[in-house]
C-alpha cells in the first residue's frame, strides 16, 4: 500500500462501516421473537385442535412433565456456551437419584440423602471439567467416557436393581402447593424447583462475572485467556453446574417414583441438548440463554403432550421433535452464514 498516497488521503475515517450494522442486531432479537412466536403458535394450534389441551389440569401436568427436561436443558446450556457438550447427563441422573435413595435407605434424613445425591452429580461434573481442562480431551470424548463410567458405577452398586425408597422420599416429587379444589390440583414442587433453577442460573449467567466469562470463553478462548480470565476454572464450573442440574433431575425422578432407577435416564442428555439448541444455543459456543433453554424444552414438552392428545404415537412424536431440532438449527446456520 502506498505510503505517499496514504499521506495525501489522510482524512477522518468514513463512519459508514459502523453505521451499517444495526439491522443485524435487530435480526438477533427477531430470532428470539420467532422462537417465542413458534411457542405461542403451538399452544394455539393444539388448543384449537385438541379439546382438552388448554385446561388448567393439562397445563399443570405439562409443566410438571417438562420441568425435568428444562432443568437438564439449563445445565447443558452452560457447557454448550463454553463450546463443549455433556453426554453424561442421563447416567448422572440415574447415579444421583440412586445414591440419594440408597442414602435414605440406610436411615439418613431425607434432606441429607438428597444433598448427597446432588453432591454425586456435582462431583461427576467436576471430574468432567478436570478431564477436559487438565487432560485437554475434547468434551465429547470426556463426557462420553463419564456417561459409561457413571452408568457402570450405578449398575454395579445396585446390581442393576431398583429399590423402593422411604415414603418421605416421595414428597418432593409428588406433593403440590396451592391445592384448592379438584379444578386446581395445585402446582407440583418440581415446577417450583424448575422456576427457581431458571431464575437463579439465568441471573448467574446474565449478571455475574462467572456468567460473563462463560460467554467469553465460548466466544474466544484465547482472547479470554489473554484477558486474564481463568479459562479452566470457568469450564469446570460450567460442567459442575451441568452435573448439578442432572443430579437435581435424578432426585426429582427418583422421588416421583419413590424408587431408585439405576436403569433410568438413558439418552436424557439428547433431549436436554435438543431443548437447548431449539432455544438458540449455538454448538459453536458463545451463544445461548437460560430463557432459550426453557422455551426450547417447553416446545418439546408441548409437542409431546399435544401430539399424544391428537392420538399420535410416541414414534410419530420422535419424528416431529427430530424435525423441529433440525429446522431450528438449520435456521441458526442460515442466519450465521448470511453474515
Amino acid at each position: 500500500m502506498s505510503m505517499s498516497n496514504e499521506a495525501q488521503v489522510l482524512a477522518p475515517p468514513p463512519p459508514t462501516a459502523s453505521l451499517a450494522v444495526a439491522p443485524f442486531a435487530r435480526k438477533l432479537s427477531l430470532d428470539k421473537l420467532m422462537i417465542s412466536l413458534a411457542f405461542v403458535a403451538l399452544i394455539i394450534i393444539f388448543s384449537l385442535t385438541a379439546k382438552n389441551f388448554f385446561t388448567v389440569r393439562n397445563v399443570l401436568t405439562l409443566a410438571l412433565q417438562t420441568s425435568t427436561i428444562t432443568i437438564m436443558g439449563i445445565g447443558v446450556t452452560f457447557t454448550i456456551i463454553t463450546g463443549g457438550i455433556d453426554l453424561s447427563i442421563g447416567s448422572v441422573v440415574a447415579l444421583s437419584g440412586t445414591v440419594a435413595v440408597m442414602a435414605a435407605n440406610v436411615g439418613l434424613p431425607i434432606w441429607l440423602s438428597m444433598t448427597i445425591g446432588l453432591a454425586s452429580g456435582v462431583l461427576c461434573g467436576f471430574l468432567n471439567g478436570i478431564i477436559i481442562t487438565g487432560m485437554k480431551l475434547p468434551p465429547f470424548i470426556a463426557t462420553l467416557g463419564m456417561m459409561m463410567v457413571a452408568r457402570g458405577v450405578v449398575l454395579t452398586i445396585t446390581n442393576a436393581m431398583s429399590k423402593p425408597a422411604p415414603d418421605a422420599f416421595g414428597h418432593l416429587g409428588n406433593d403440590t402447593l396451592f391445592r384448592y379444589s379438584r379444578q386446581f390440583p395445585g402446582i407440583a414442587y418440581p415446577v417450583f424447583i424448575m422456576i427457581l433453577v431458571a431464575l437463579a442460573f439465568g441471573f448467574f449467567l446474565r449478571k455475574t462475572r462467572m456468567g460473563r466469562y462463560t460467554y467469553a470463553v465460548g466466544s474466544n478462548e484465547e482472547a479470554s485467556r489473554l484477558s486474564g480470565i481463568k479459562v479452566k476454572r470457568v469450564k469446570i464450573v460450567a460442567y459442575m453446574i451441568c452435573g448439578f442440574c442432572a443430579a437435581l433431575t435424578g432426585i426429582i425422578l427418583a422421588s416421583r417414583m419413590v424408587t431408585s432407577q439405576p436403569n433410568g435416564g438413558v439418552s436424557y442428555e439428547l433431549n436436554a441438548i435438543a431443548s437447548s439448541v431449539i432455544g438458540g444455543t449455538s454448538l459453536m459456543g458463545g451463544i445461548g440463554t437460560v430463557g432459550g433453554a426453557v422455551i426450547g424444552s417447553f416446545i418439546i414438552g408441548i409437542l409431546a403432550v399435544g401430539l399424544t392428545m391428537q392420538g399420535a404415537s410416541y414414534f410419530v412424536q420422535q419424528i416431529v421433535i427430530g424435525v423441529v431440532v433440525i429446522v431450528s438449527v438449520a435456521f441458526d446456520q442460515f442466519r450465521y452464514q448470511k453474515k
Binding site: M1, S2, M3, S4, N5, E6, A7, V9, L10, A11, P12, P13, P14, P15, A17, S18, L19, V21, A22, F24, A25, L28, K207, T208, R209, M210, R212, Y213, Y215, A216, S219, N220, E222, A223, S224, R225, L226, S227, G228, I229, K230, G286, I287, K339
Partner: protein, 512 residues
C-alpha cells in the same frame, strides 16, 4: 537471448480503497531464478495471485509461452503449468507422499479404484527428477518440514509445471535444509523451469538468483541482473521514499526511569537470551522479519507462553509471571496481532469486550455486574477513543477493523495498564484510524505509560518510536536509537547481517 516464458504487461489490480498493482510489468525467462523483493504491501502477493489465477487483473495482459492468457481460477493456471508453493504448506499430513502428490487426480485402474502401484511409481519418478530419495509410501507427517516442502515442489512438478512460484520458501527451514532446497532449485533451473522466488531474506538470494525485480507501492521499480546490483541499491529501491507527515508529532522525551527490564529471556528454540529495558514515557519499537520471534517475545513477557529462563522486572522488582493473569495484575497488557483470533470475543458486544479484562471494576458486590457502571465505562472510552458504533451493545464483529482495534485498546486502558505491548497495531485498518492509533500511543507515552510497538512497517517504526529493538531468528541483533538509524540499517540487522558484513558481501559480489 533466452526464451521468455511469462510476460506480465502493465497489469493493474485494485481493491476497495487500494490500488494494489499499478501497471506492473515483469518478465520471466526459461531456466532462470527471478527474485521478487519488496516491503510488505508492495504488491508481490497480489501479482503472484494473479499469475496463479486466484485473482484476475483489472487491466493489462499476461502472455505465457507466446500466447495471451487469462486464468479464471487456480485450477486453470496449474493445468497450464504454473505452479505455486505458498509459505504455508498445503498438504495433508495423514496421507502418504504419493497420495499428496496426486490428490484429486489419482490414477485409476479399469475397475475404477485407485491404482496404488502406479501412483507410487509415478511419484517415485517425479521425486527422482528432483534427485530426492523419499519413499512415496511414507506418511507426510513423518517427514521433516524441508522434505515436506520438497513434496510440495514435486506436487507442483507433477502438473508438468514450467513456471514455479515460491513464496518465502525458506521461512520455516534450518540452514542445512535451505541448502537442500537450493540444490533442488538448481536442478529445476537446469531443466528449464522458470522460478519466481519471493523472499524477505536478502542474504540468501546470492546463492541462487539470476535476476531480481524490486517492487514498491504496487509498482515495478527495477529489474536487474543480480550480478549487476548491490545490496545497498536493492534496499534503497525497496524503501525508496521519505517519511511523509503521517505521524503525530512527538511531544515528550522519554525519561531515564526504567519501567520494565527484561533480562536474559530464553524460550528454548524460539527466544535466545534477550535483554532490554523499557523506559517510562518512551515508545519502543520491535522490528524483525516474519518468524524472528517478535510476537513470541511479547507473549513470553505477558505469560501467554512459557519461558525457559530469564527475569522480568518492573520498577526494579522481579515479577513472577506464569500466566496472563499474573502479567495483567502487574499492569502489563498485550494487544495481539490477530484481533479476531485472540484479541476480541467477536460474538460479544462492545461493552462486554471493553470490560472483559477488568470485571472487578464493574462488579464490586458479590461479583454481580453493574450494567450502569459497565455502560458508563464503555461510553467514556467510546468518546475518548472516538469509536464509531451504532450503540454500546453493538456486536464487535460488526465494527470496522480500526474500531475493533480501538475496542481492544479500550479494554487495556480500562485496566490502567502501565506497559502496553502493541503487536502490529495498524495491520488491516484504514489510514484515518491508523493516525488515531498513533496519536493515542503518543498520548499514552506522554502519560508515563511504557509503550512497546511490534511492527513490520518500518516507516511506522521510524515515525513513532524512540528506540528500536531488531530481532533476527529469536536473537536481539541490535538496539538502535530511532533518530540515528535508517530503514537500511534496520533491514540489515533484521536480515541477520551487520553493516560490516554487508560491505564485505557487496565487495565479494562486485568481484563476482
Amino acid at each position: 537471448m533466452p526464451e521468455t516464458l511469462l510476460q506480465v504487461t502493465e497489469v493493474s489490480k485494485g481493491f476497495p480503497g487500494v490500488l494494489a498493482l499499478d501497471k506492473v510489468s515483469f518478465e520471466l525467462r526459461k531456466g532462470e531464478v527471478h527474485a521478487l523483493v519488496g516491503e510488505n504491501g508492495a504488491g508481490k502477493s497480489t501479482l503472484m495471485k494473479i499469475l496463479s489465477g486466484v485473482y484476475q487483473p483489472d487491466a493489462g495482459t499476461l502472455t505465457y509461452k507466446g500466447k495471451e492468457v487469462r486464468f479464471q481460477d487456480s485450477r486453470e493456471a496449474s493445468a497450464a503449468g504454473i505452479g505455486i508453493i505458498y509459505q504455508e504448506l498445503n498438504l495433508i499430513p495423514h496421507l502418504t507422499v504419493a497420495q499428496n502428490i496426486f490428490i484429486g487426480r489419482e490414477p485409476r485402474t479399469w475397475l475404477g479404484y485407485i491404482d496404488d502401484p502406479k501412483m507410487n511409481a509415478d511419484a517415485c519418478a517425479i521425486l527422482g527428477r528432483l534427485n530426492l530419495s523419499i519413499d512415496p509410501a511414507t506418511r507426510l507427517n513423518e517427514l521433516s518440514i524441508s522434505k515436506q516442502q520438497m513434496v510440495e515442489i514435486a506436487k507442483a512438478l507433477s502438473h508438468d509445471s514450467e513456471v514455479l512460484i515460491m513464496d518465502e520458501p525458506t521461512s520455516a527451514l534450518t540452514e542445512s535444509e535451505i541448502d537442500e532446497l537450493f540444490k533442488v532449485i538448481h536442478t529445476l533451473r537446469n531443466r528449464g523451469v522458470g522460478i519466481i522466488y519471493i523472499s524477505h531474506r536478502l542474504d540468501e538470494l546470492k546463492h541462487i538468483v539470476d535476476r531480481i525485480t524490486i517492487f514498491r507501492d504496487g509498482r515495478t521499480i527495477a529489474t536487474r541482473e543480480y550480478a549487476a546490483i548491490t545490496m545497498d541499491e536493492i534496499i534503497q529501491k525497496m524503501v525508496g521514499r521519505k517519511l511523509e507527515n503521517m505521524f503525530p508529532p512527538r511531544t515528550n522525551l522519554p525519561t531515564g526511569e526504567k519501567l520494565l527490564e527484561v533480562k536474559h529471556l530464553v524460550r528454548t528454540g524460539i527466544l535466545k537470551d534477550i535483554s532490554f529495558d523499557v523506559f517510562r514515557g518512551e515508545i519502543l519499537g520491535i522490528a524483525g522479519l516474519m518468524g524472528a520471534g517478535r510476537s513470541e517475545l511479547a507473549r513470553a513477557i505477558f505469560g501467554a507462553d512459557p519461558i525457559t529462563s530469564g527475569d522480568i522486572l518492573m520498577d526494579g522488582r522481579k515479577l513472577d509471571i506464569h500466566s496472563p493473569v499474573d502479567a495483567i495484575r502487574h499492569g502489563i497488557a498485550y494487544l495481539s496481532e490477530n484481533r479476531k483470533e485472540d484479541g476480541l470475543a467477536i460474538k460479544m458486544t462492545l461493552d462486554q469486550n471493553v470490560t472483559m479484562a477488568n470485571m472487578d471494576q464493574v462488579s464490586k458486590r458479590f461479583t454481580i455486574i453493574s450494567r450502569t457502571q459497565e455502560l458508563q465505562a464503555t461510553q467514556t472510552f467510546v468518546d475518548e477513543l472516538e469509536i464509531h458504533t451504532s450503540s454500546l451493545t453493538q456486536v464487535v464483529n460488526n465494527l470496522s477493523g480500526g474500531n475493533q482495534q480501538k475496542v481492544v485498546i479500550a479494554k487495556w486502558l480500562f485496566r490502567d495498564s502501565r506497559i502496553l505491548i502493541f503487536d502490529e497495531p495498524t495491520r488491516g485498518i484504514d489510514v484515518g484510524a491508523k493516525f488515531a492509533i498513533y496519536a493515542l500511543m503518543e498520548r499514552l507515552s506522554r502519560q508515563g505509560v511504557g509503550v512497546v510497538m511490534i511492527s513490520s512497517e518500518l516507516p511506522e517504526i521510524l515515525g513513532m518510536t524512540d528506540r528500536v529493538l531488531v530481532l533476527h531468528e529469536g536473537r536481539l541483533t541490535a538496539t538502535l536509537r530511532t533518530r540515528d538509524t535508517s530503514q537500511e540499517e534496520i533491514l540489515n540487522y533484521a536480515a541477520g547481517l551487520n553493516p560490516e558484513a554487508v560491505q564485505a558481501g557487496l565487495a565479494a559480489a562486485q568481484n563476482r
